[in-house]
Symmetry: D3
Subunit: 283 residues, 6 copies
């Protein structure tokens, strides 16, 4: 009899039980105010990841040696952000309960809130390390409290002062930047203070959220709100390596909007970064 | 002192008070399940409409002779469909209260529900004439009752049996098509029965909703869900002419997604159709 | 435990054993001389087909009621056309041996030759019905005998005079058109003689090959060699309906090149046509 | 020694002396008010024409049998329309003086004026047959008398009343349409009166100008100002066949803007139409 | 009564009288020899600027605190460069006469000449600081003296030797580079000598012209003539900061061609740079 | 009589006899496994190169002073890699036999094998210097020994251990990287060891192969397999300068896929690099 063969992300074919990291997609961009398209990120990564080698010359490691499960994409309703977050929270909680590390592929950045909600229930002292071009600390946006522009403020509601460390930030309203100075740690434009923060967070449970628009648009134009003046792929890779020394309990990569970059280079970069992140974080 | 000059849609520069039709944009596509982008339609039409002549050789009439006000676009939140509908309903009601005809430019098709809610309060015996590729009669979609795929079912909740007439329909689930046979009038694939319906609706107040994907994708690829086998521009124009004989109290053009057609031909067609619709409907 | 969910083409989830039609992809465009990209057709159809309803208002039938298996895509080497054809022939033969109908999604048109080689072994009196813009009857092209431009000549090598009927042809070299007049039946520009041919072929085993560029580029620009002056979707649908009355033992849809049409309308049309073809051919 | 091989348009390799038609490009779009790009038309046709067969199944004739010279493209300055027209006039006059038929590939429609200036000097009783979506009869546009929107008015300055026959017109200002009723013959929307005009013009010297935007944007989106509601490729081909019965002394194809249609179908259609025009006009 | 709301550039809503900087657009690209599209820059910046925050984390300043007027775009004829320059000169002169700083958004680089003509009448000892990939010092181009490739040579006609300082130059003909060595100051490839020049020009009135193609195409591909090897956004920002210490009496940003970069990153960068330039220059 | 004028690459108009470098195109991408399109590189460079100045401010040299012949593009069959290599080998051998330096423009990287086959016959002690993102050292790929992914392994078959030096490598399978450590010299990620290698190879005959995907995708997204983390244009230019000190007997630039970068920046960079390479290598 004929056998079907479908591509998993990066060719992962390990079972759920034996895996230590579980990758899944959250194809939602329902609050994106400017240019939608992040909903297509997880399927784009799934479709294109076969073009990436499983071997990393940066780390001299191979994905074939680690145990990762690709759980596919959630089926999320549009037009109801709260319901979407509930589904993500429930799915993430299931993975955490099984003692595994969830790695969520967005979708827009708001999806992180669903996963953080789950993580904070398992780890009362959860810290968040956040790479992004935007501080995402507004209290509301266009009258809505749930938005890609408020996601870190909503996370702050859950974890409180001093628990969120942001890097690469180069955009925000005066009010949110001002609010941020009192409630979170923000490293503007780069990762200069990451070593320092990494020391301080040693052994703390960390949620690691990478909004890919932290990258310069020259390297990553395929995102809803490109912000000139970002970091290079090399700088991001270096920072991911440092962050991977933390006790990461859950993580995400968000805000790839693949159709906005017709060259495909943004999707390709995301696939490669995913490989490196997995090899760094896997222990 | 210098004077600013901005383009209004089709160059409209009449005041609100003297105008009989009020055009406004509803830039929302938050429930679009497949390919978003309809949010950009009203600004695209505003930006590109200057390339269209104000004179119609089809009708030998000129927009410069009629009184239409361009009210700009609503500022709508994403991620909360119900709130969006409330805003649209309130705005539409304001226009109706002033005895004018609202012409809403979508956005996705769900925005029609907001306007229909307003119209049905002013006209208890409201009928709906609906051009579309999709019947949009599902009761829920991905668990949500407010969706571009349920919009006509929600309208039916408001107007009841026998009040909705659909034309050009060529896609739907078996269930919704089956449900539709008992509750609405559906003319599949074309406008053949429009004459007949137009006679029956004479003098009734009519909400006229044009989902532009009723057009064949060859003429109009710039839409979220292109459906092969649609009508030509000529056929649509002919049908709009017929429909304009009705007592239209409010109307809309929805589902242009301009960035999905990089040739610009879809936006250009929408601008031209808007001109013709206005000249036909204006009395 | 978590369950993976991946999209099959058009949501097919029947088993191989119970299915009567087996769909598979042949992602090869290695002899395409002008604009490559047909290799991406089967994965594009797989990814986009979820946007198409399973119900056909044309036939009042639903894919959920028929038994079709999606066997995924063959993994084909590039740069060696003969080897590719061998793989396709073997795969097709396996399906035919099990008494099922293979429906191959190209790929460029040359892939048809692999499937025809298999079919002609099972059906000595095989006829070929061929919809195409190009007659594909050259004996060689740029010195090669295996090419998208020679595929029907190579099929003729297998079946001989009077066994190939072409429809919609509107391009060819003087030599191949002239050769064609003596060896195959060619209906130029349209399907006018299809009724007549359908009568003549009653009960004969037929391989049905649809090169999608038979469509006019206005409806289907996403193909390697667009040829103005083609048929409409309606005309093709009508012709497919007629052809489905034949005793079709194997079939294919080829030459969608999805990335050449950034609007996505070509891929969407191909998905819809696939649904209609399956519902017509399934008995 | 190595020999260079470059593609001429449609592979023409006849010498100037033996040729009866001379094709040349006028890559100018300097007065285009909306979307420029027509300057790239002649090089696009030259680059892509190799994908078109030299044989026409419509006429059963082959380009290899006729004598046409490809003179390459003029090198035109931008920012000075009058100078451009002088260059075109001089080049066209040279061809006419040698007793050959010039076929100019635009460029925007204004380039026709340069060629008409030359033709009217050789043929005092010149008539113009003009296929277009736009009447191009304005006296000035944005303060300029030389513009793609005034080109036929400027031609009228040269030939006077009753000498210009327009077909397919579906756009214009009220003023120019009104002016046109008294000074030119305009057939709106289609070619219905072409037979009649063709009879009337028998034996008169005719300049034949085809603005390709006479085609519907579904078939030809690659043009600066797409106008919905145009003619099909079949209808245009039929009309070209009729027009070719006239005594054509010079002709042009203008307003392809190849980069505006990323599918390439517009350029491909223009190449094919060029083949048919040449085969029809060549005697 | 309903109120219209249109987006001004970056949300500017101050009156002309109270403003110190006046932004206006010069949508002209009529001499662009290679790839046109700069005409669309000012409307693209106007449409997209709402996606940029008004607050700058680089300068800790906010556009809401400064007084800038958006005067909209000039309506310029195409095909007549001299007339275009006259309109720009007149408009710029009006602003200068009112004691305000004009900031012109191109259009192609030739538009700078119109503004420089105005500025040199108000400031006899005007200096020009010029960021660009191309030296633009040709005396004529394709026979024309007014061209994007001659604009700095025409400015030199007005200001004479030693008054033009160019930075970032990495392209030119041998002749113009050679001519430049004797008449202007050219800093190749970077801004290394900007400090030195800034000292020398202290208190002199300066026209500051930024041709955005000084940026590397990786950051800014949306321009008519991309030149590899340019500066980064960070480097440009740093240089703009330095230049803003000068006595700038008028300035421009030119050569964004938004449709050439379908990712939108080029337009987005231009919007952000405009914010930074305004906040730096405003005093 | 009229004279035809066609663009040669970079305007080269010297005769074959007097030239010392011969440029030709090898438009083949038949083994490309992921995204085809490199076949269009040589014609894109030919068409766009006129937008590049002939003068280099980097070297203060001008193409007009050197003798280079543009031999046009080979006409290669698709679907038969071995035959393609034979044609390339024969063509290259002809140039080498005449004592000239062949510079081949790909095409995919496999085309290098044809030229290396020719070069190794003329220079038994040939060394290969190879800039690339991918090591291309697989022994077979999808069952094929001739592939863009095996090209350097096939070259090794010809030259043996210690003769291949790779730079910029950042992707490969574990097996090929491991194999490479024993048989070739690989400098990962950058050109750090190029000085060292250049010393060692002094006077040896060198084949210089530049796979343009060695560049970072931010600068060069127009390639089949973009790999994040590459070198900048400046770094590549520096490395080319160093390599040009070697005794280069033949060279190539491969893997530009122009249609994959709709901004045109990749093609423009390739044209500029070609100018610099020619000016560096020419002696």
């Amino acid at each position: 009899m004929l056998e079907r063969s479908f591509y998993n992300i990066l060719g992962f074919d390990k079972s759920y039980t034996e895996s230590r990291i579980v990758v899944f997609g959250a194809p939602f961009d329902g609050t994106t105010s400017y240019r939608p398209g992040a909903r297509f990120a997880c399927s784009a990564i799934r479709n294109e990841s076969y073009s990436i080698e499983t071997y990393s010359p940066y780390q001299d490691k191979d994905l074939e040696d680690i145990f990762v499960f690709d759980a596919g994409d959630l089926e999320l309703p549009f037009g109801n952000a709260e319901k979407v977050l509930c589904q993500i929270e429930a799915f993430t909680a299931g993975i955490l309960k099984d003692g595994k590390i969830p790695l969520m592929l967005g979708g827009e950045h708001l999806v992180s809130l669903g996963a953080v909600r789950a993580a904070v229930k398992f780890h009362k002292d959860l810290h968040i390390v956040h790479f992004d071009a935007h501080s995402d600390l507004r209290d509301e946006y266009l009258g809505e409290t749930l938005s890609h522009a408020t996601v870190m403020r909503r996370c702050w509601d859950l974890v409180g002062d001093g628990r969120i460390s942001q890097f690469g930030i180069r955009s925000g309203s005066r009010d949110e930047i001002s609010w941020g100075r009192e409630h979170v740690h923000t490293c503007f434009f780069n990762f200069d203070e990451l070593d320092h923060i990494a020391d301080a967070l040693k052994d703390k449970p960390v949620y690691f959220s990478v909004d890919l628009d932290v990258l310069d648009p020259s390297a990553f134009p395929g995102t809803g709100t490109p912000e000139a003046g970002g970091v290079t792929f090399h700088e991001l890779l270096k920072a991911v390596e440092k962050a991977s020394g933390l006790n990461i309990v859950a993580l995400d990569l968000t805000e790839l909007a693949p159709t906005l970059d017709p060259t495909g280079a943004s999707t390709s970069l995301a696939c490669k970064l995913l490989r490196e992140v997995l090899l760094y974080v896997y222990k």
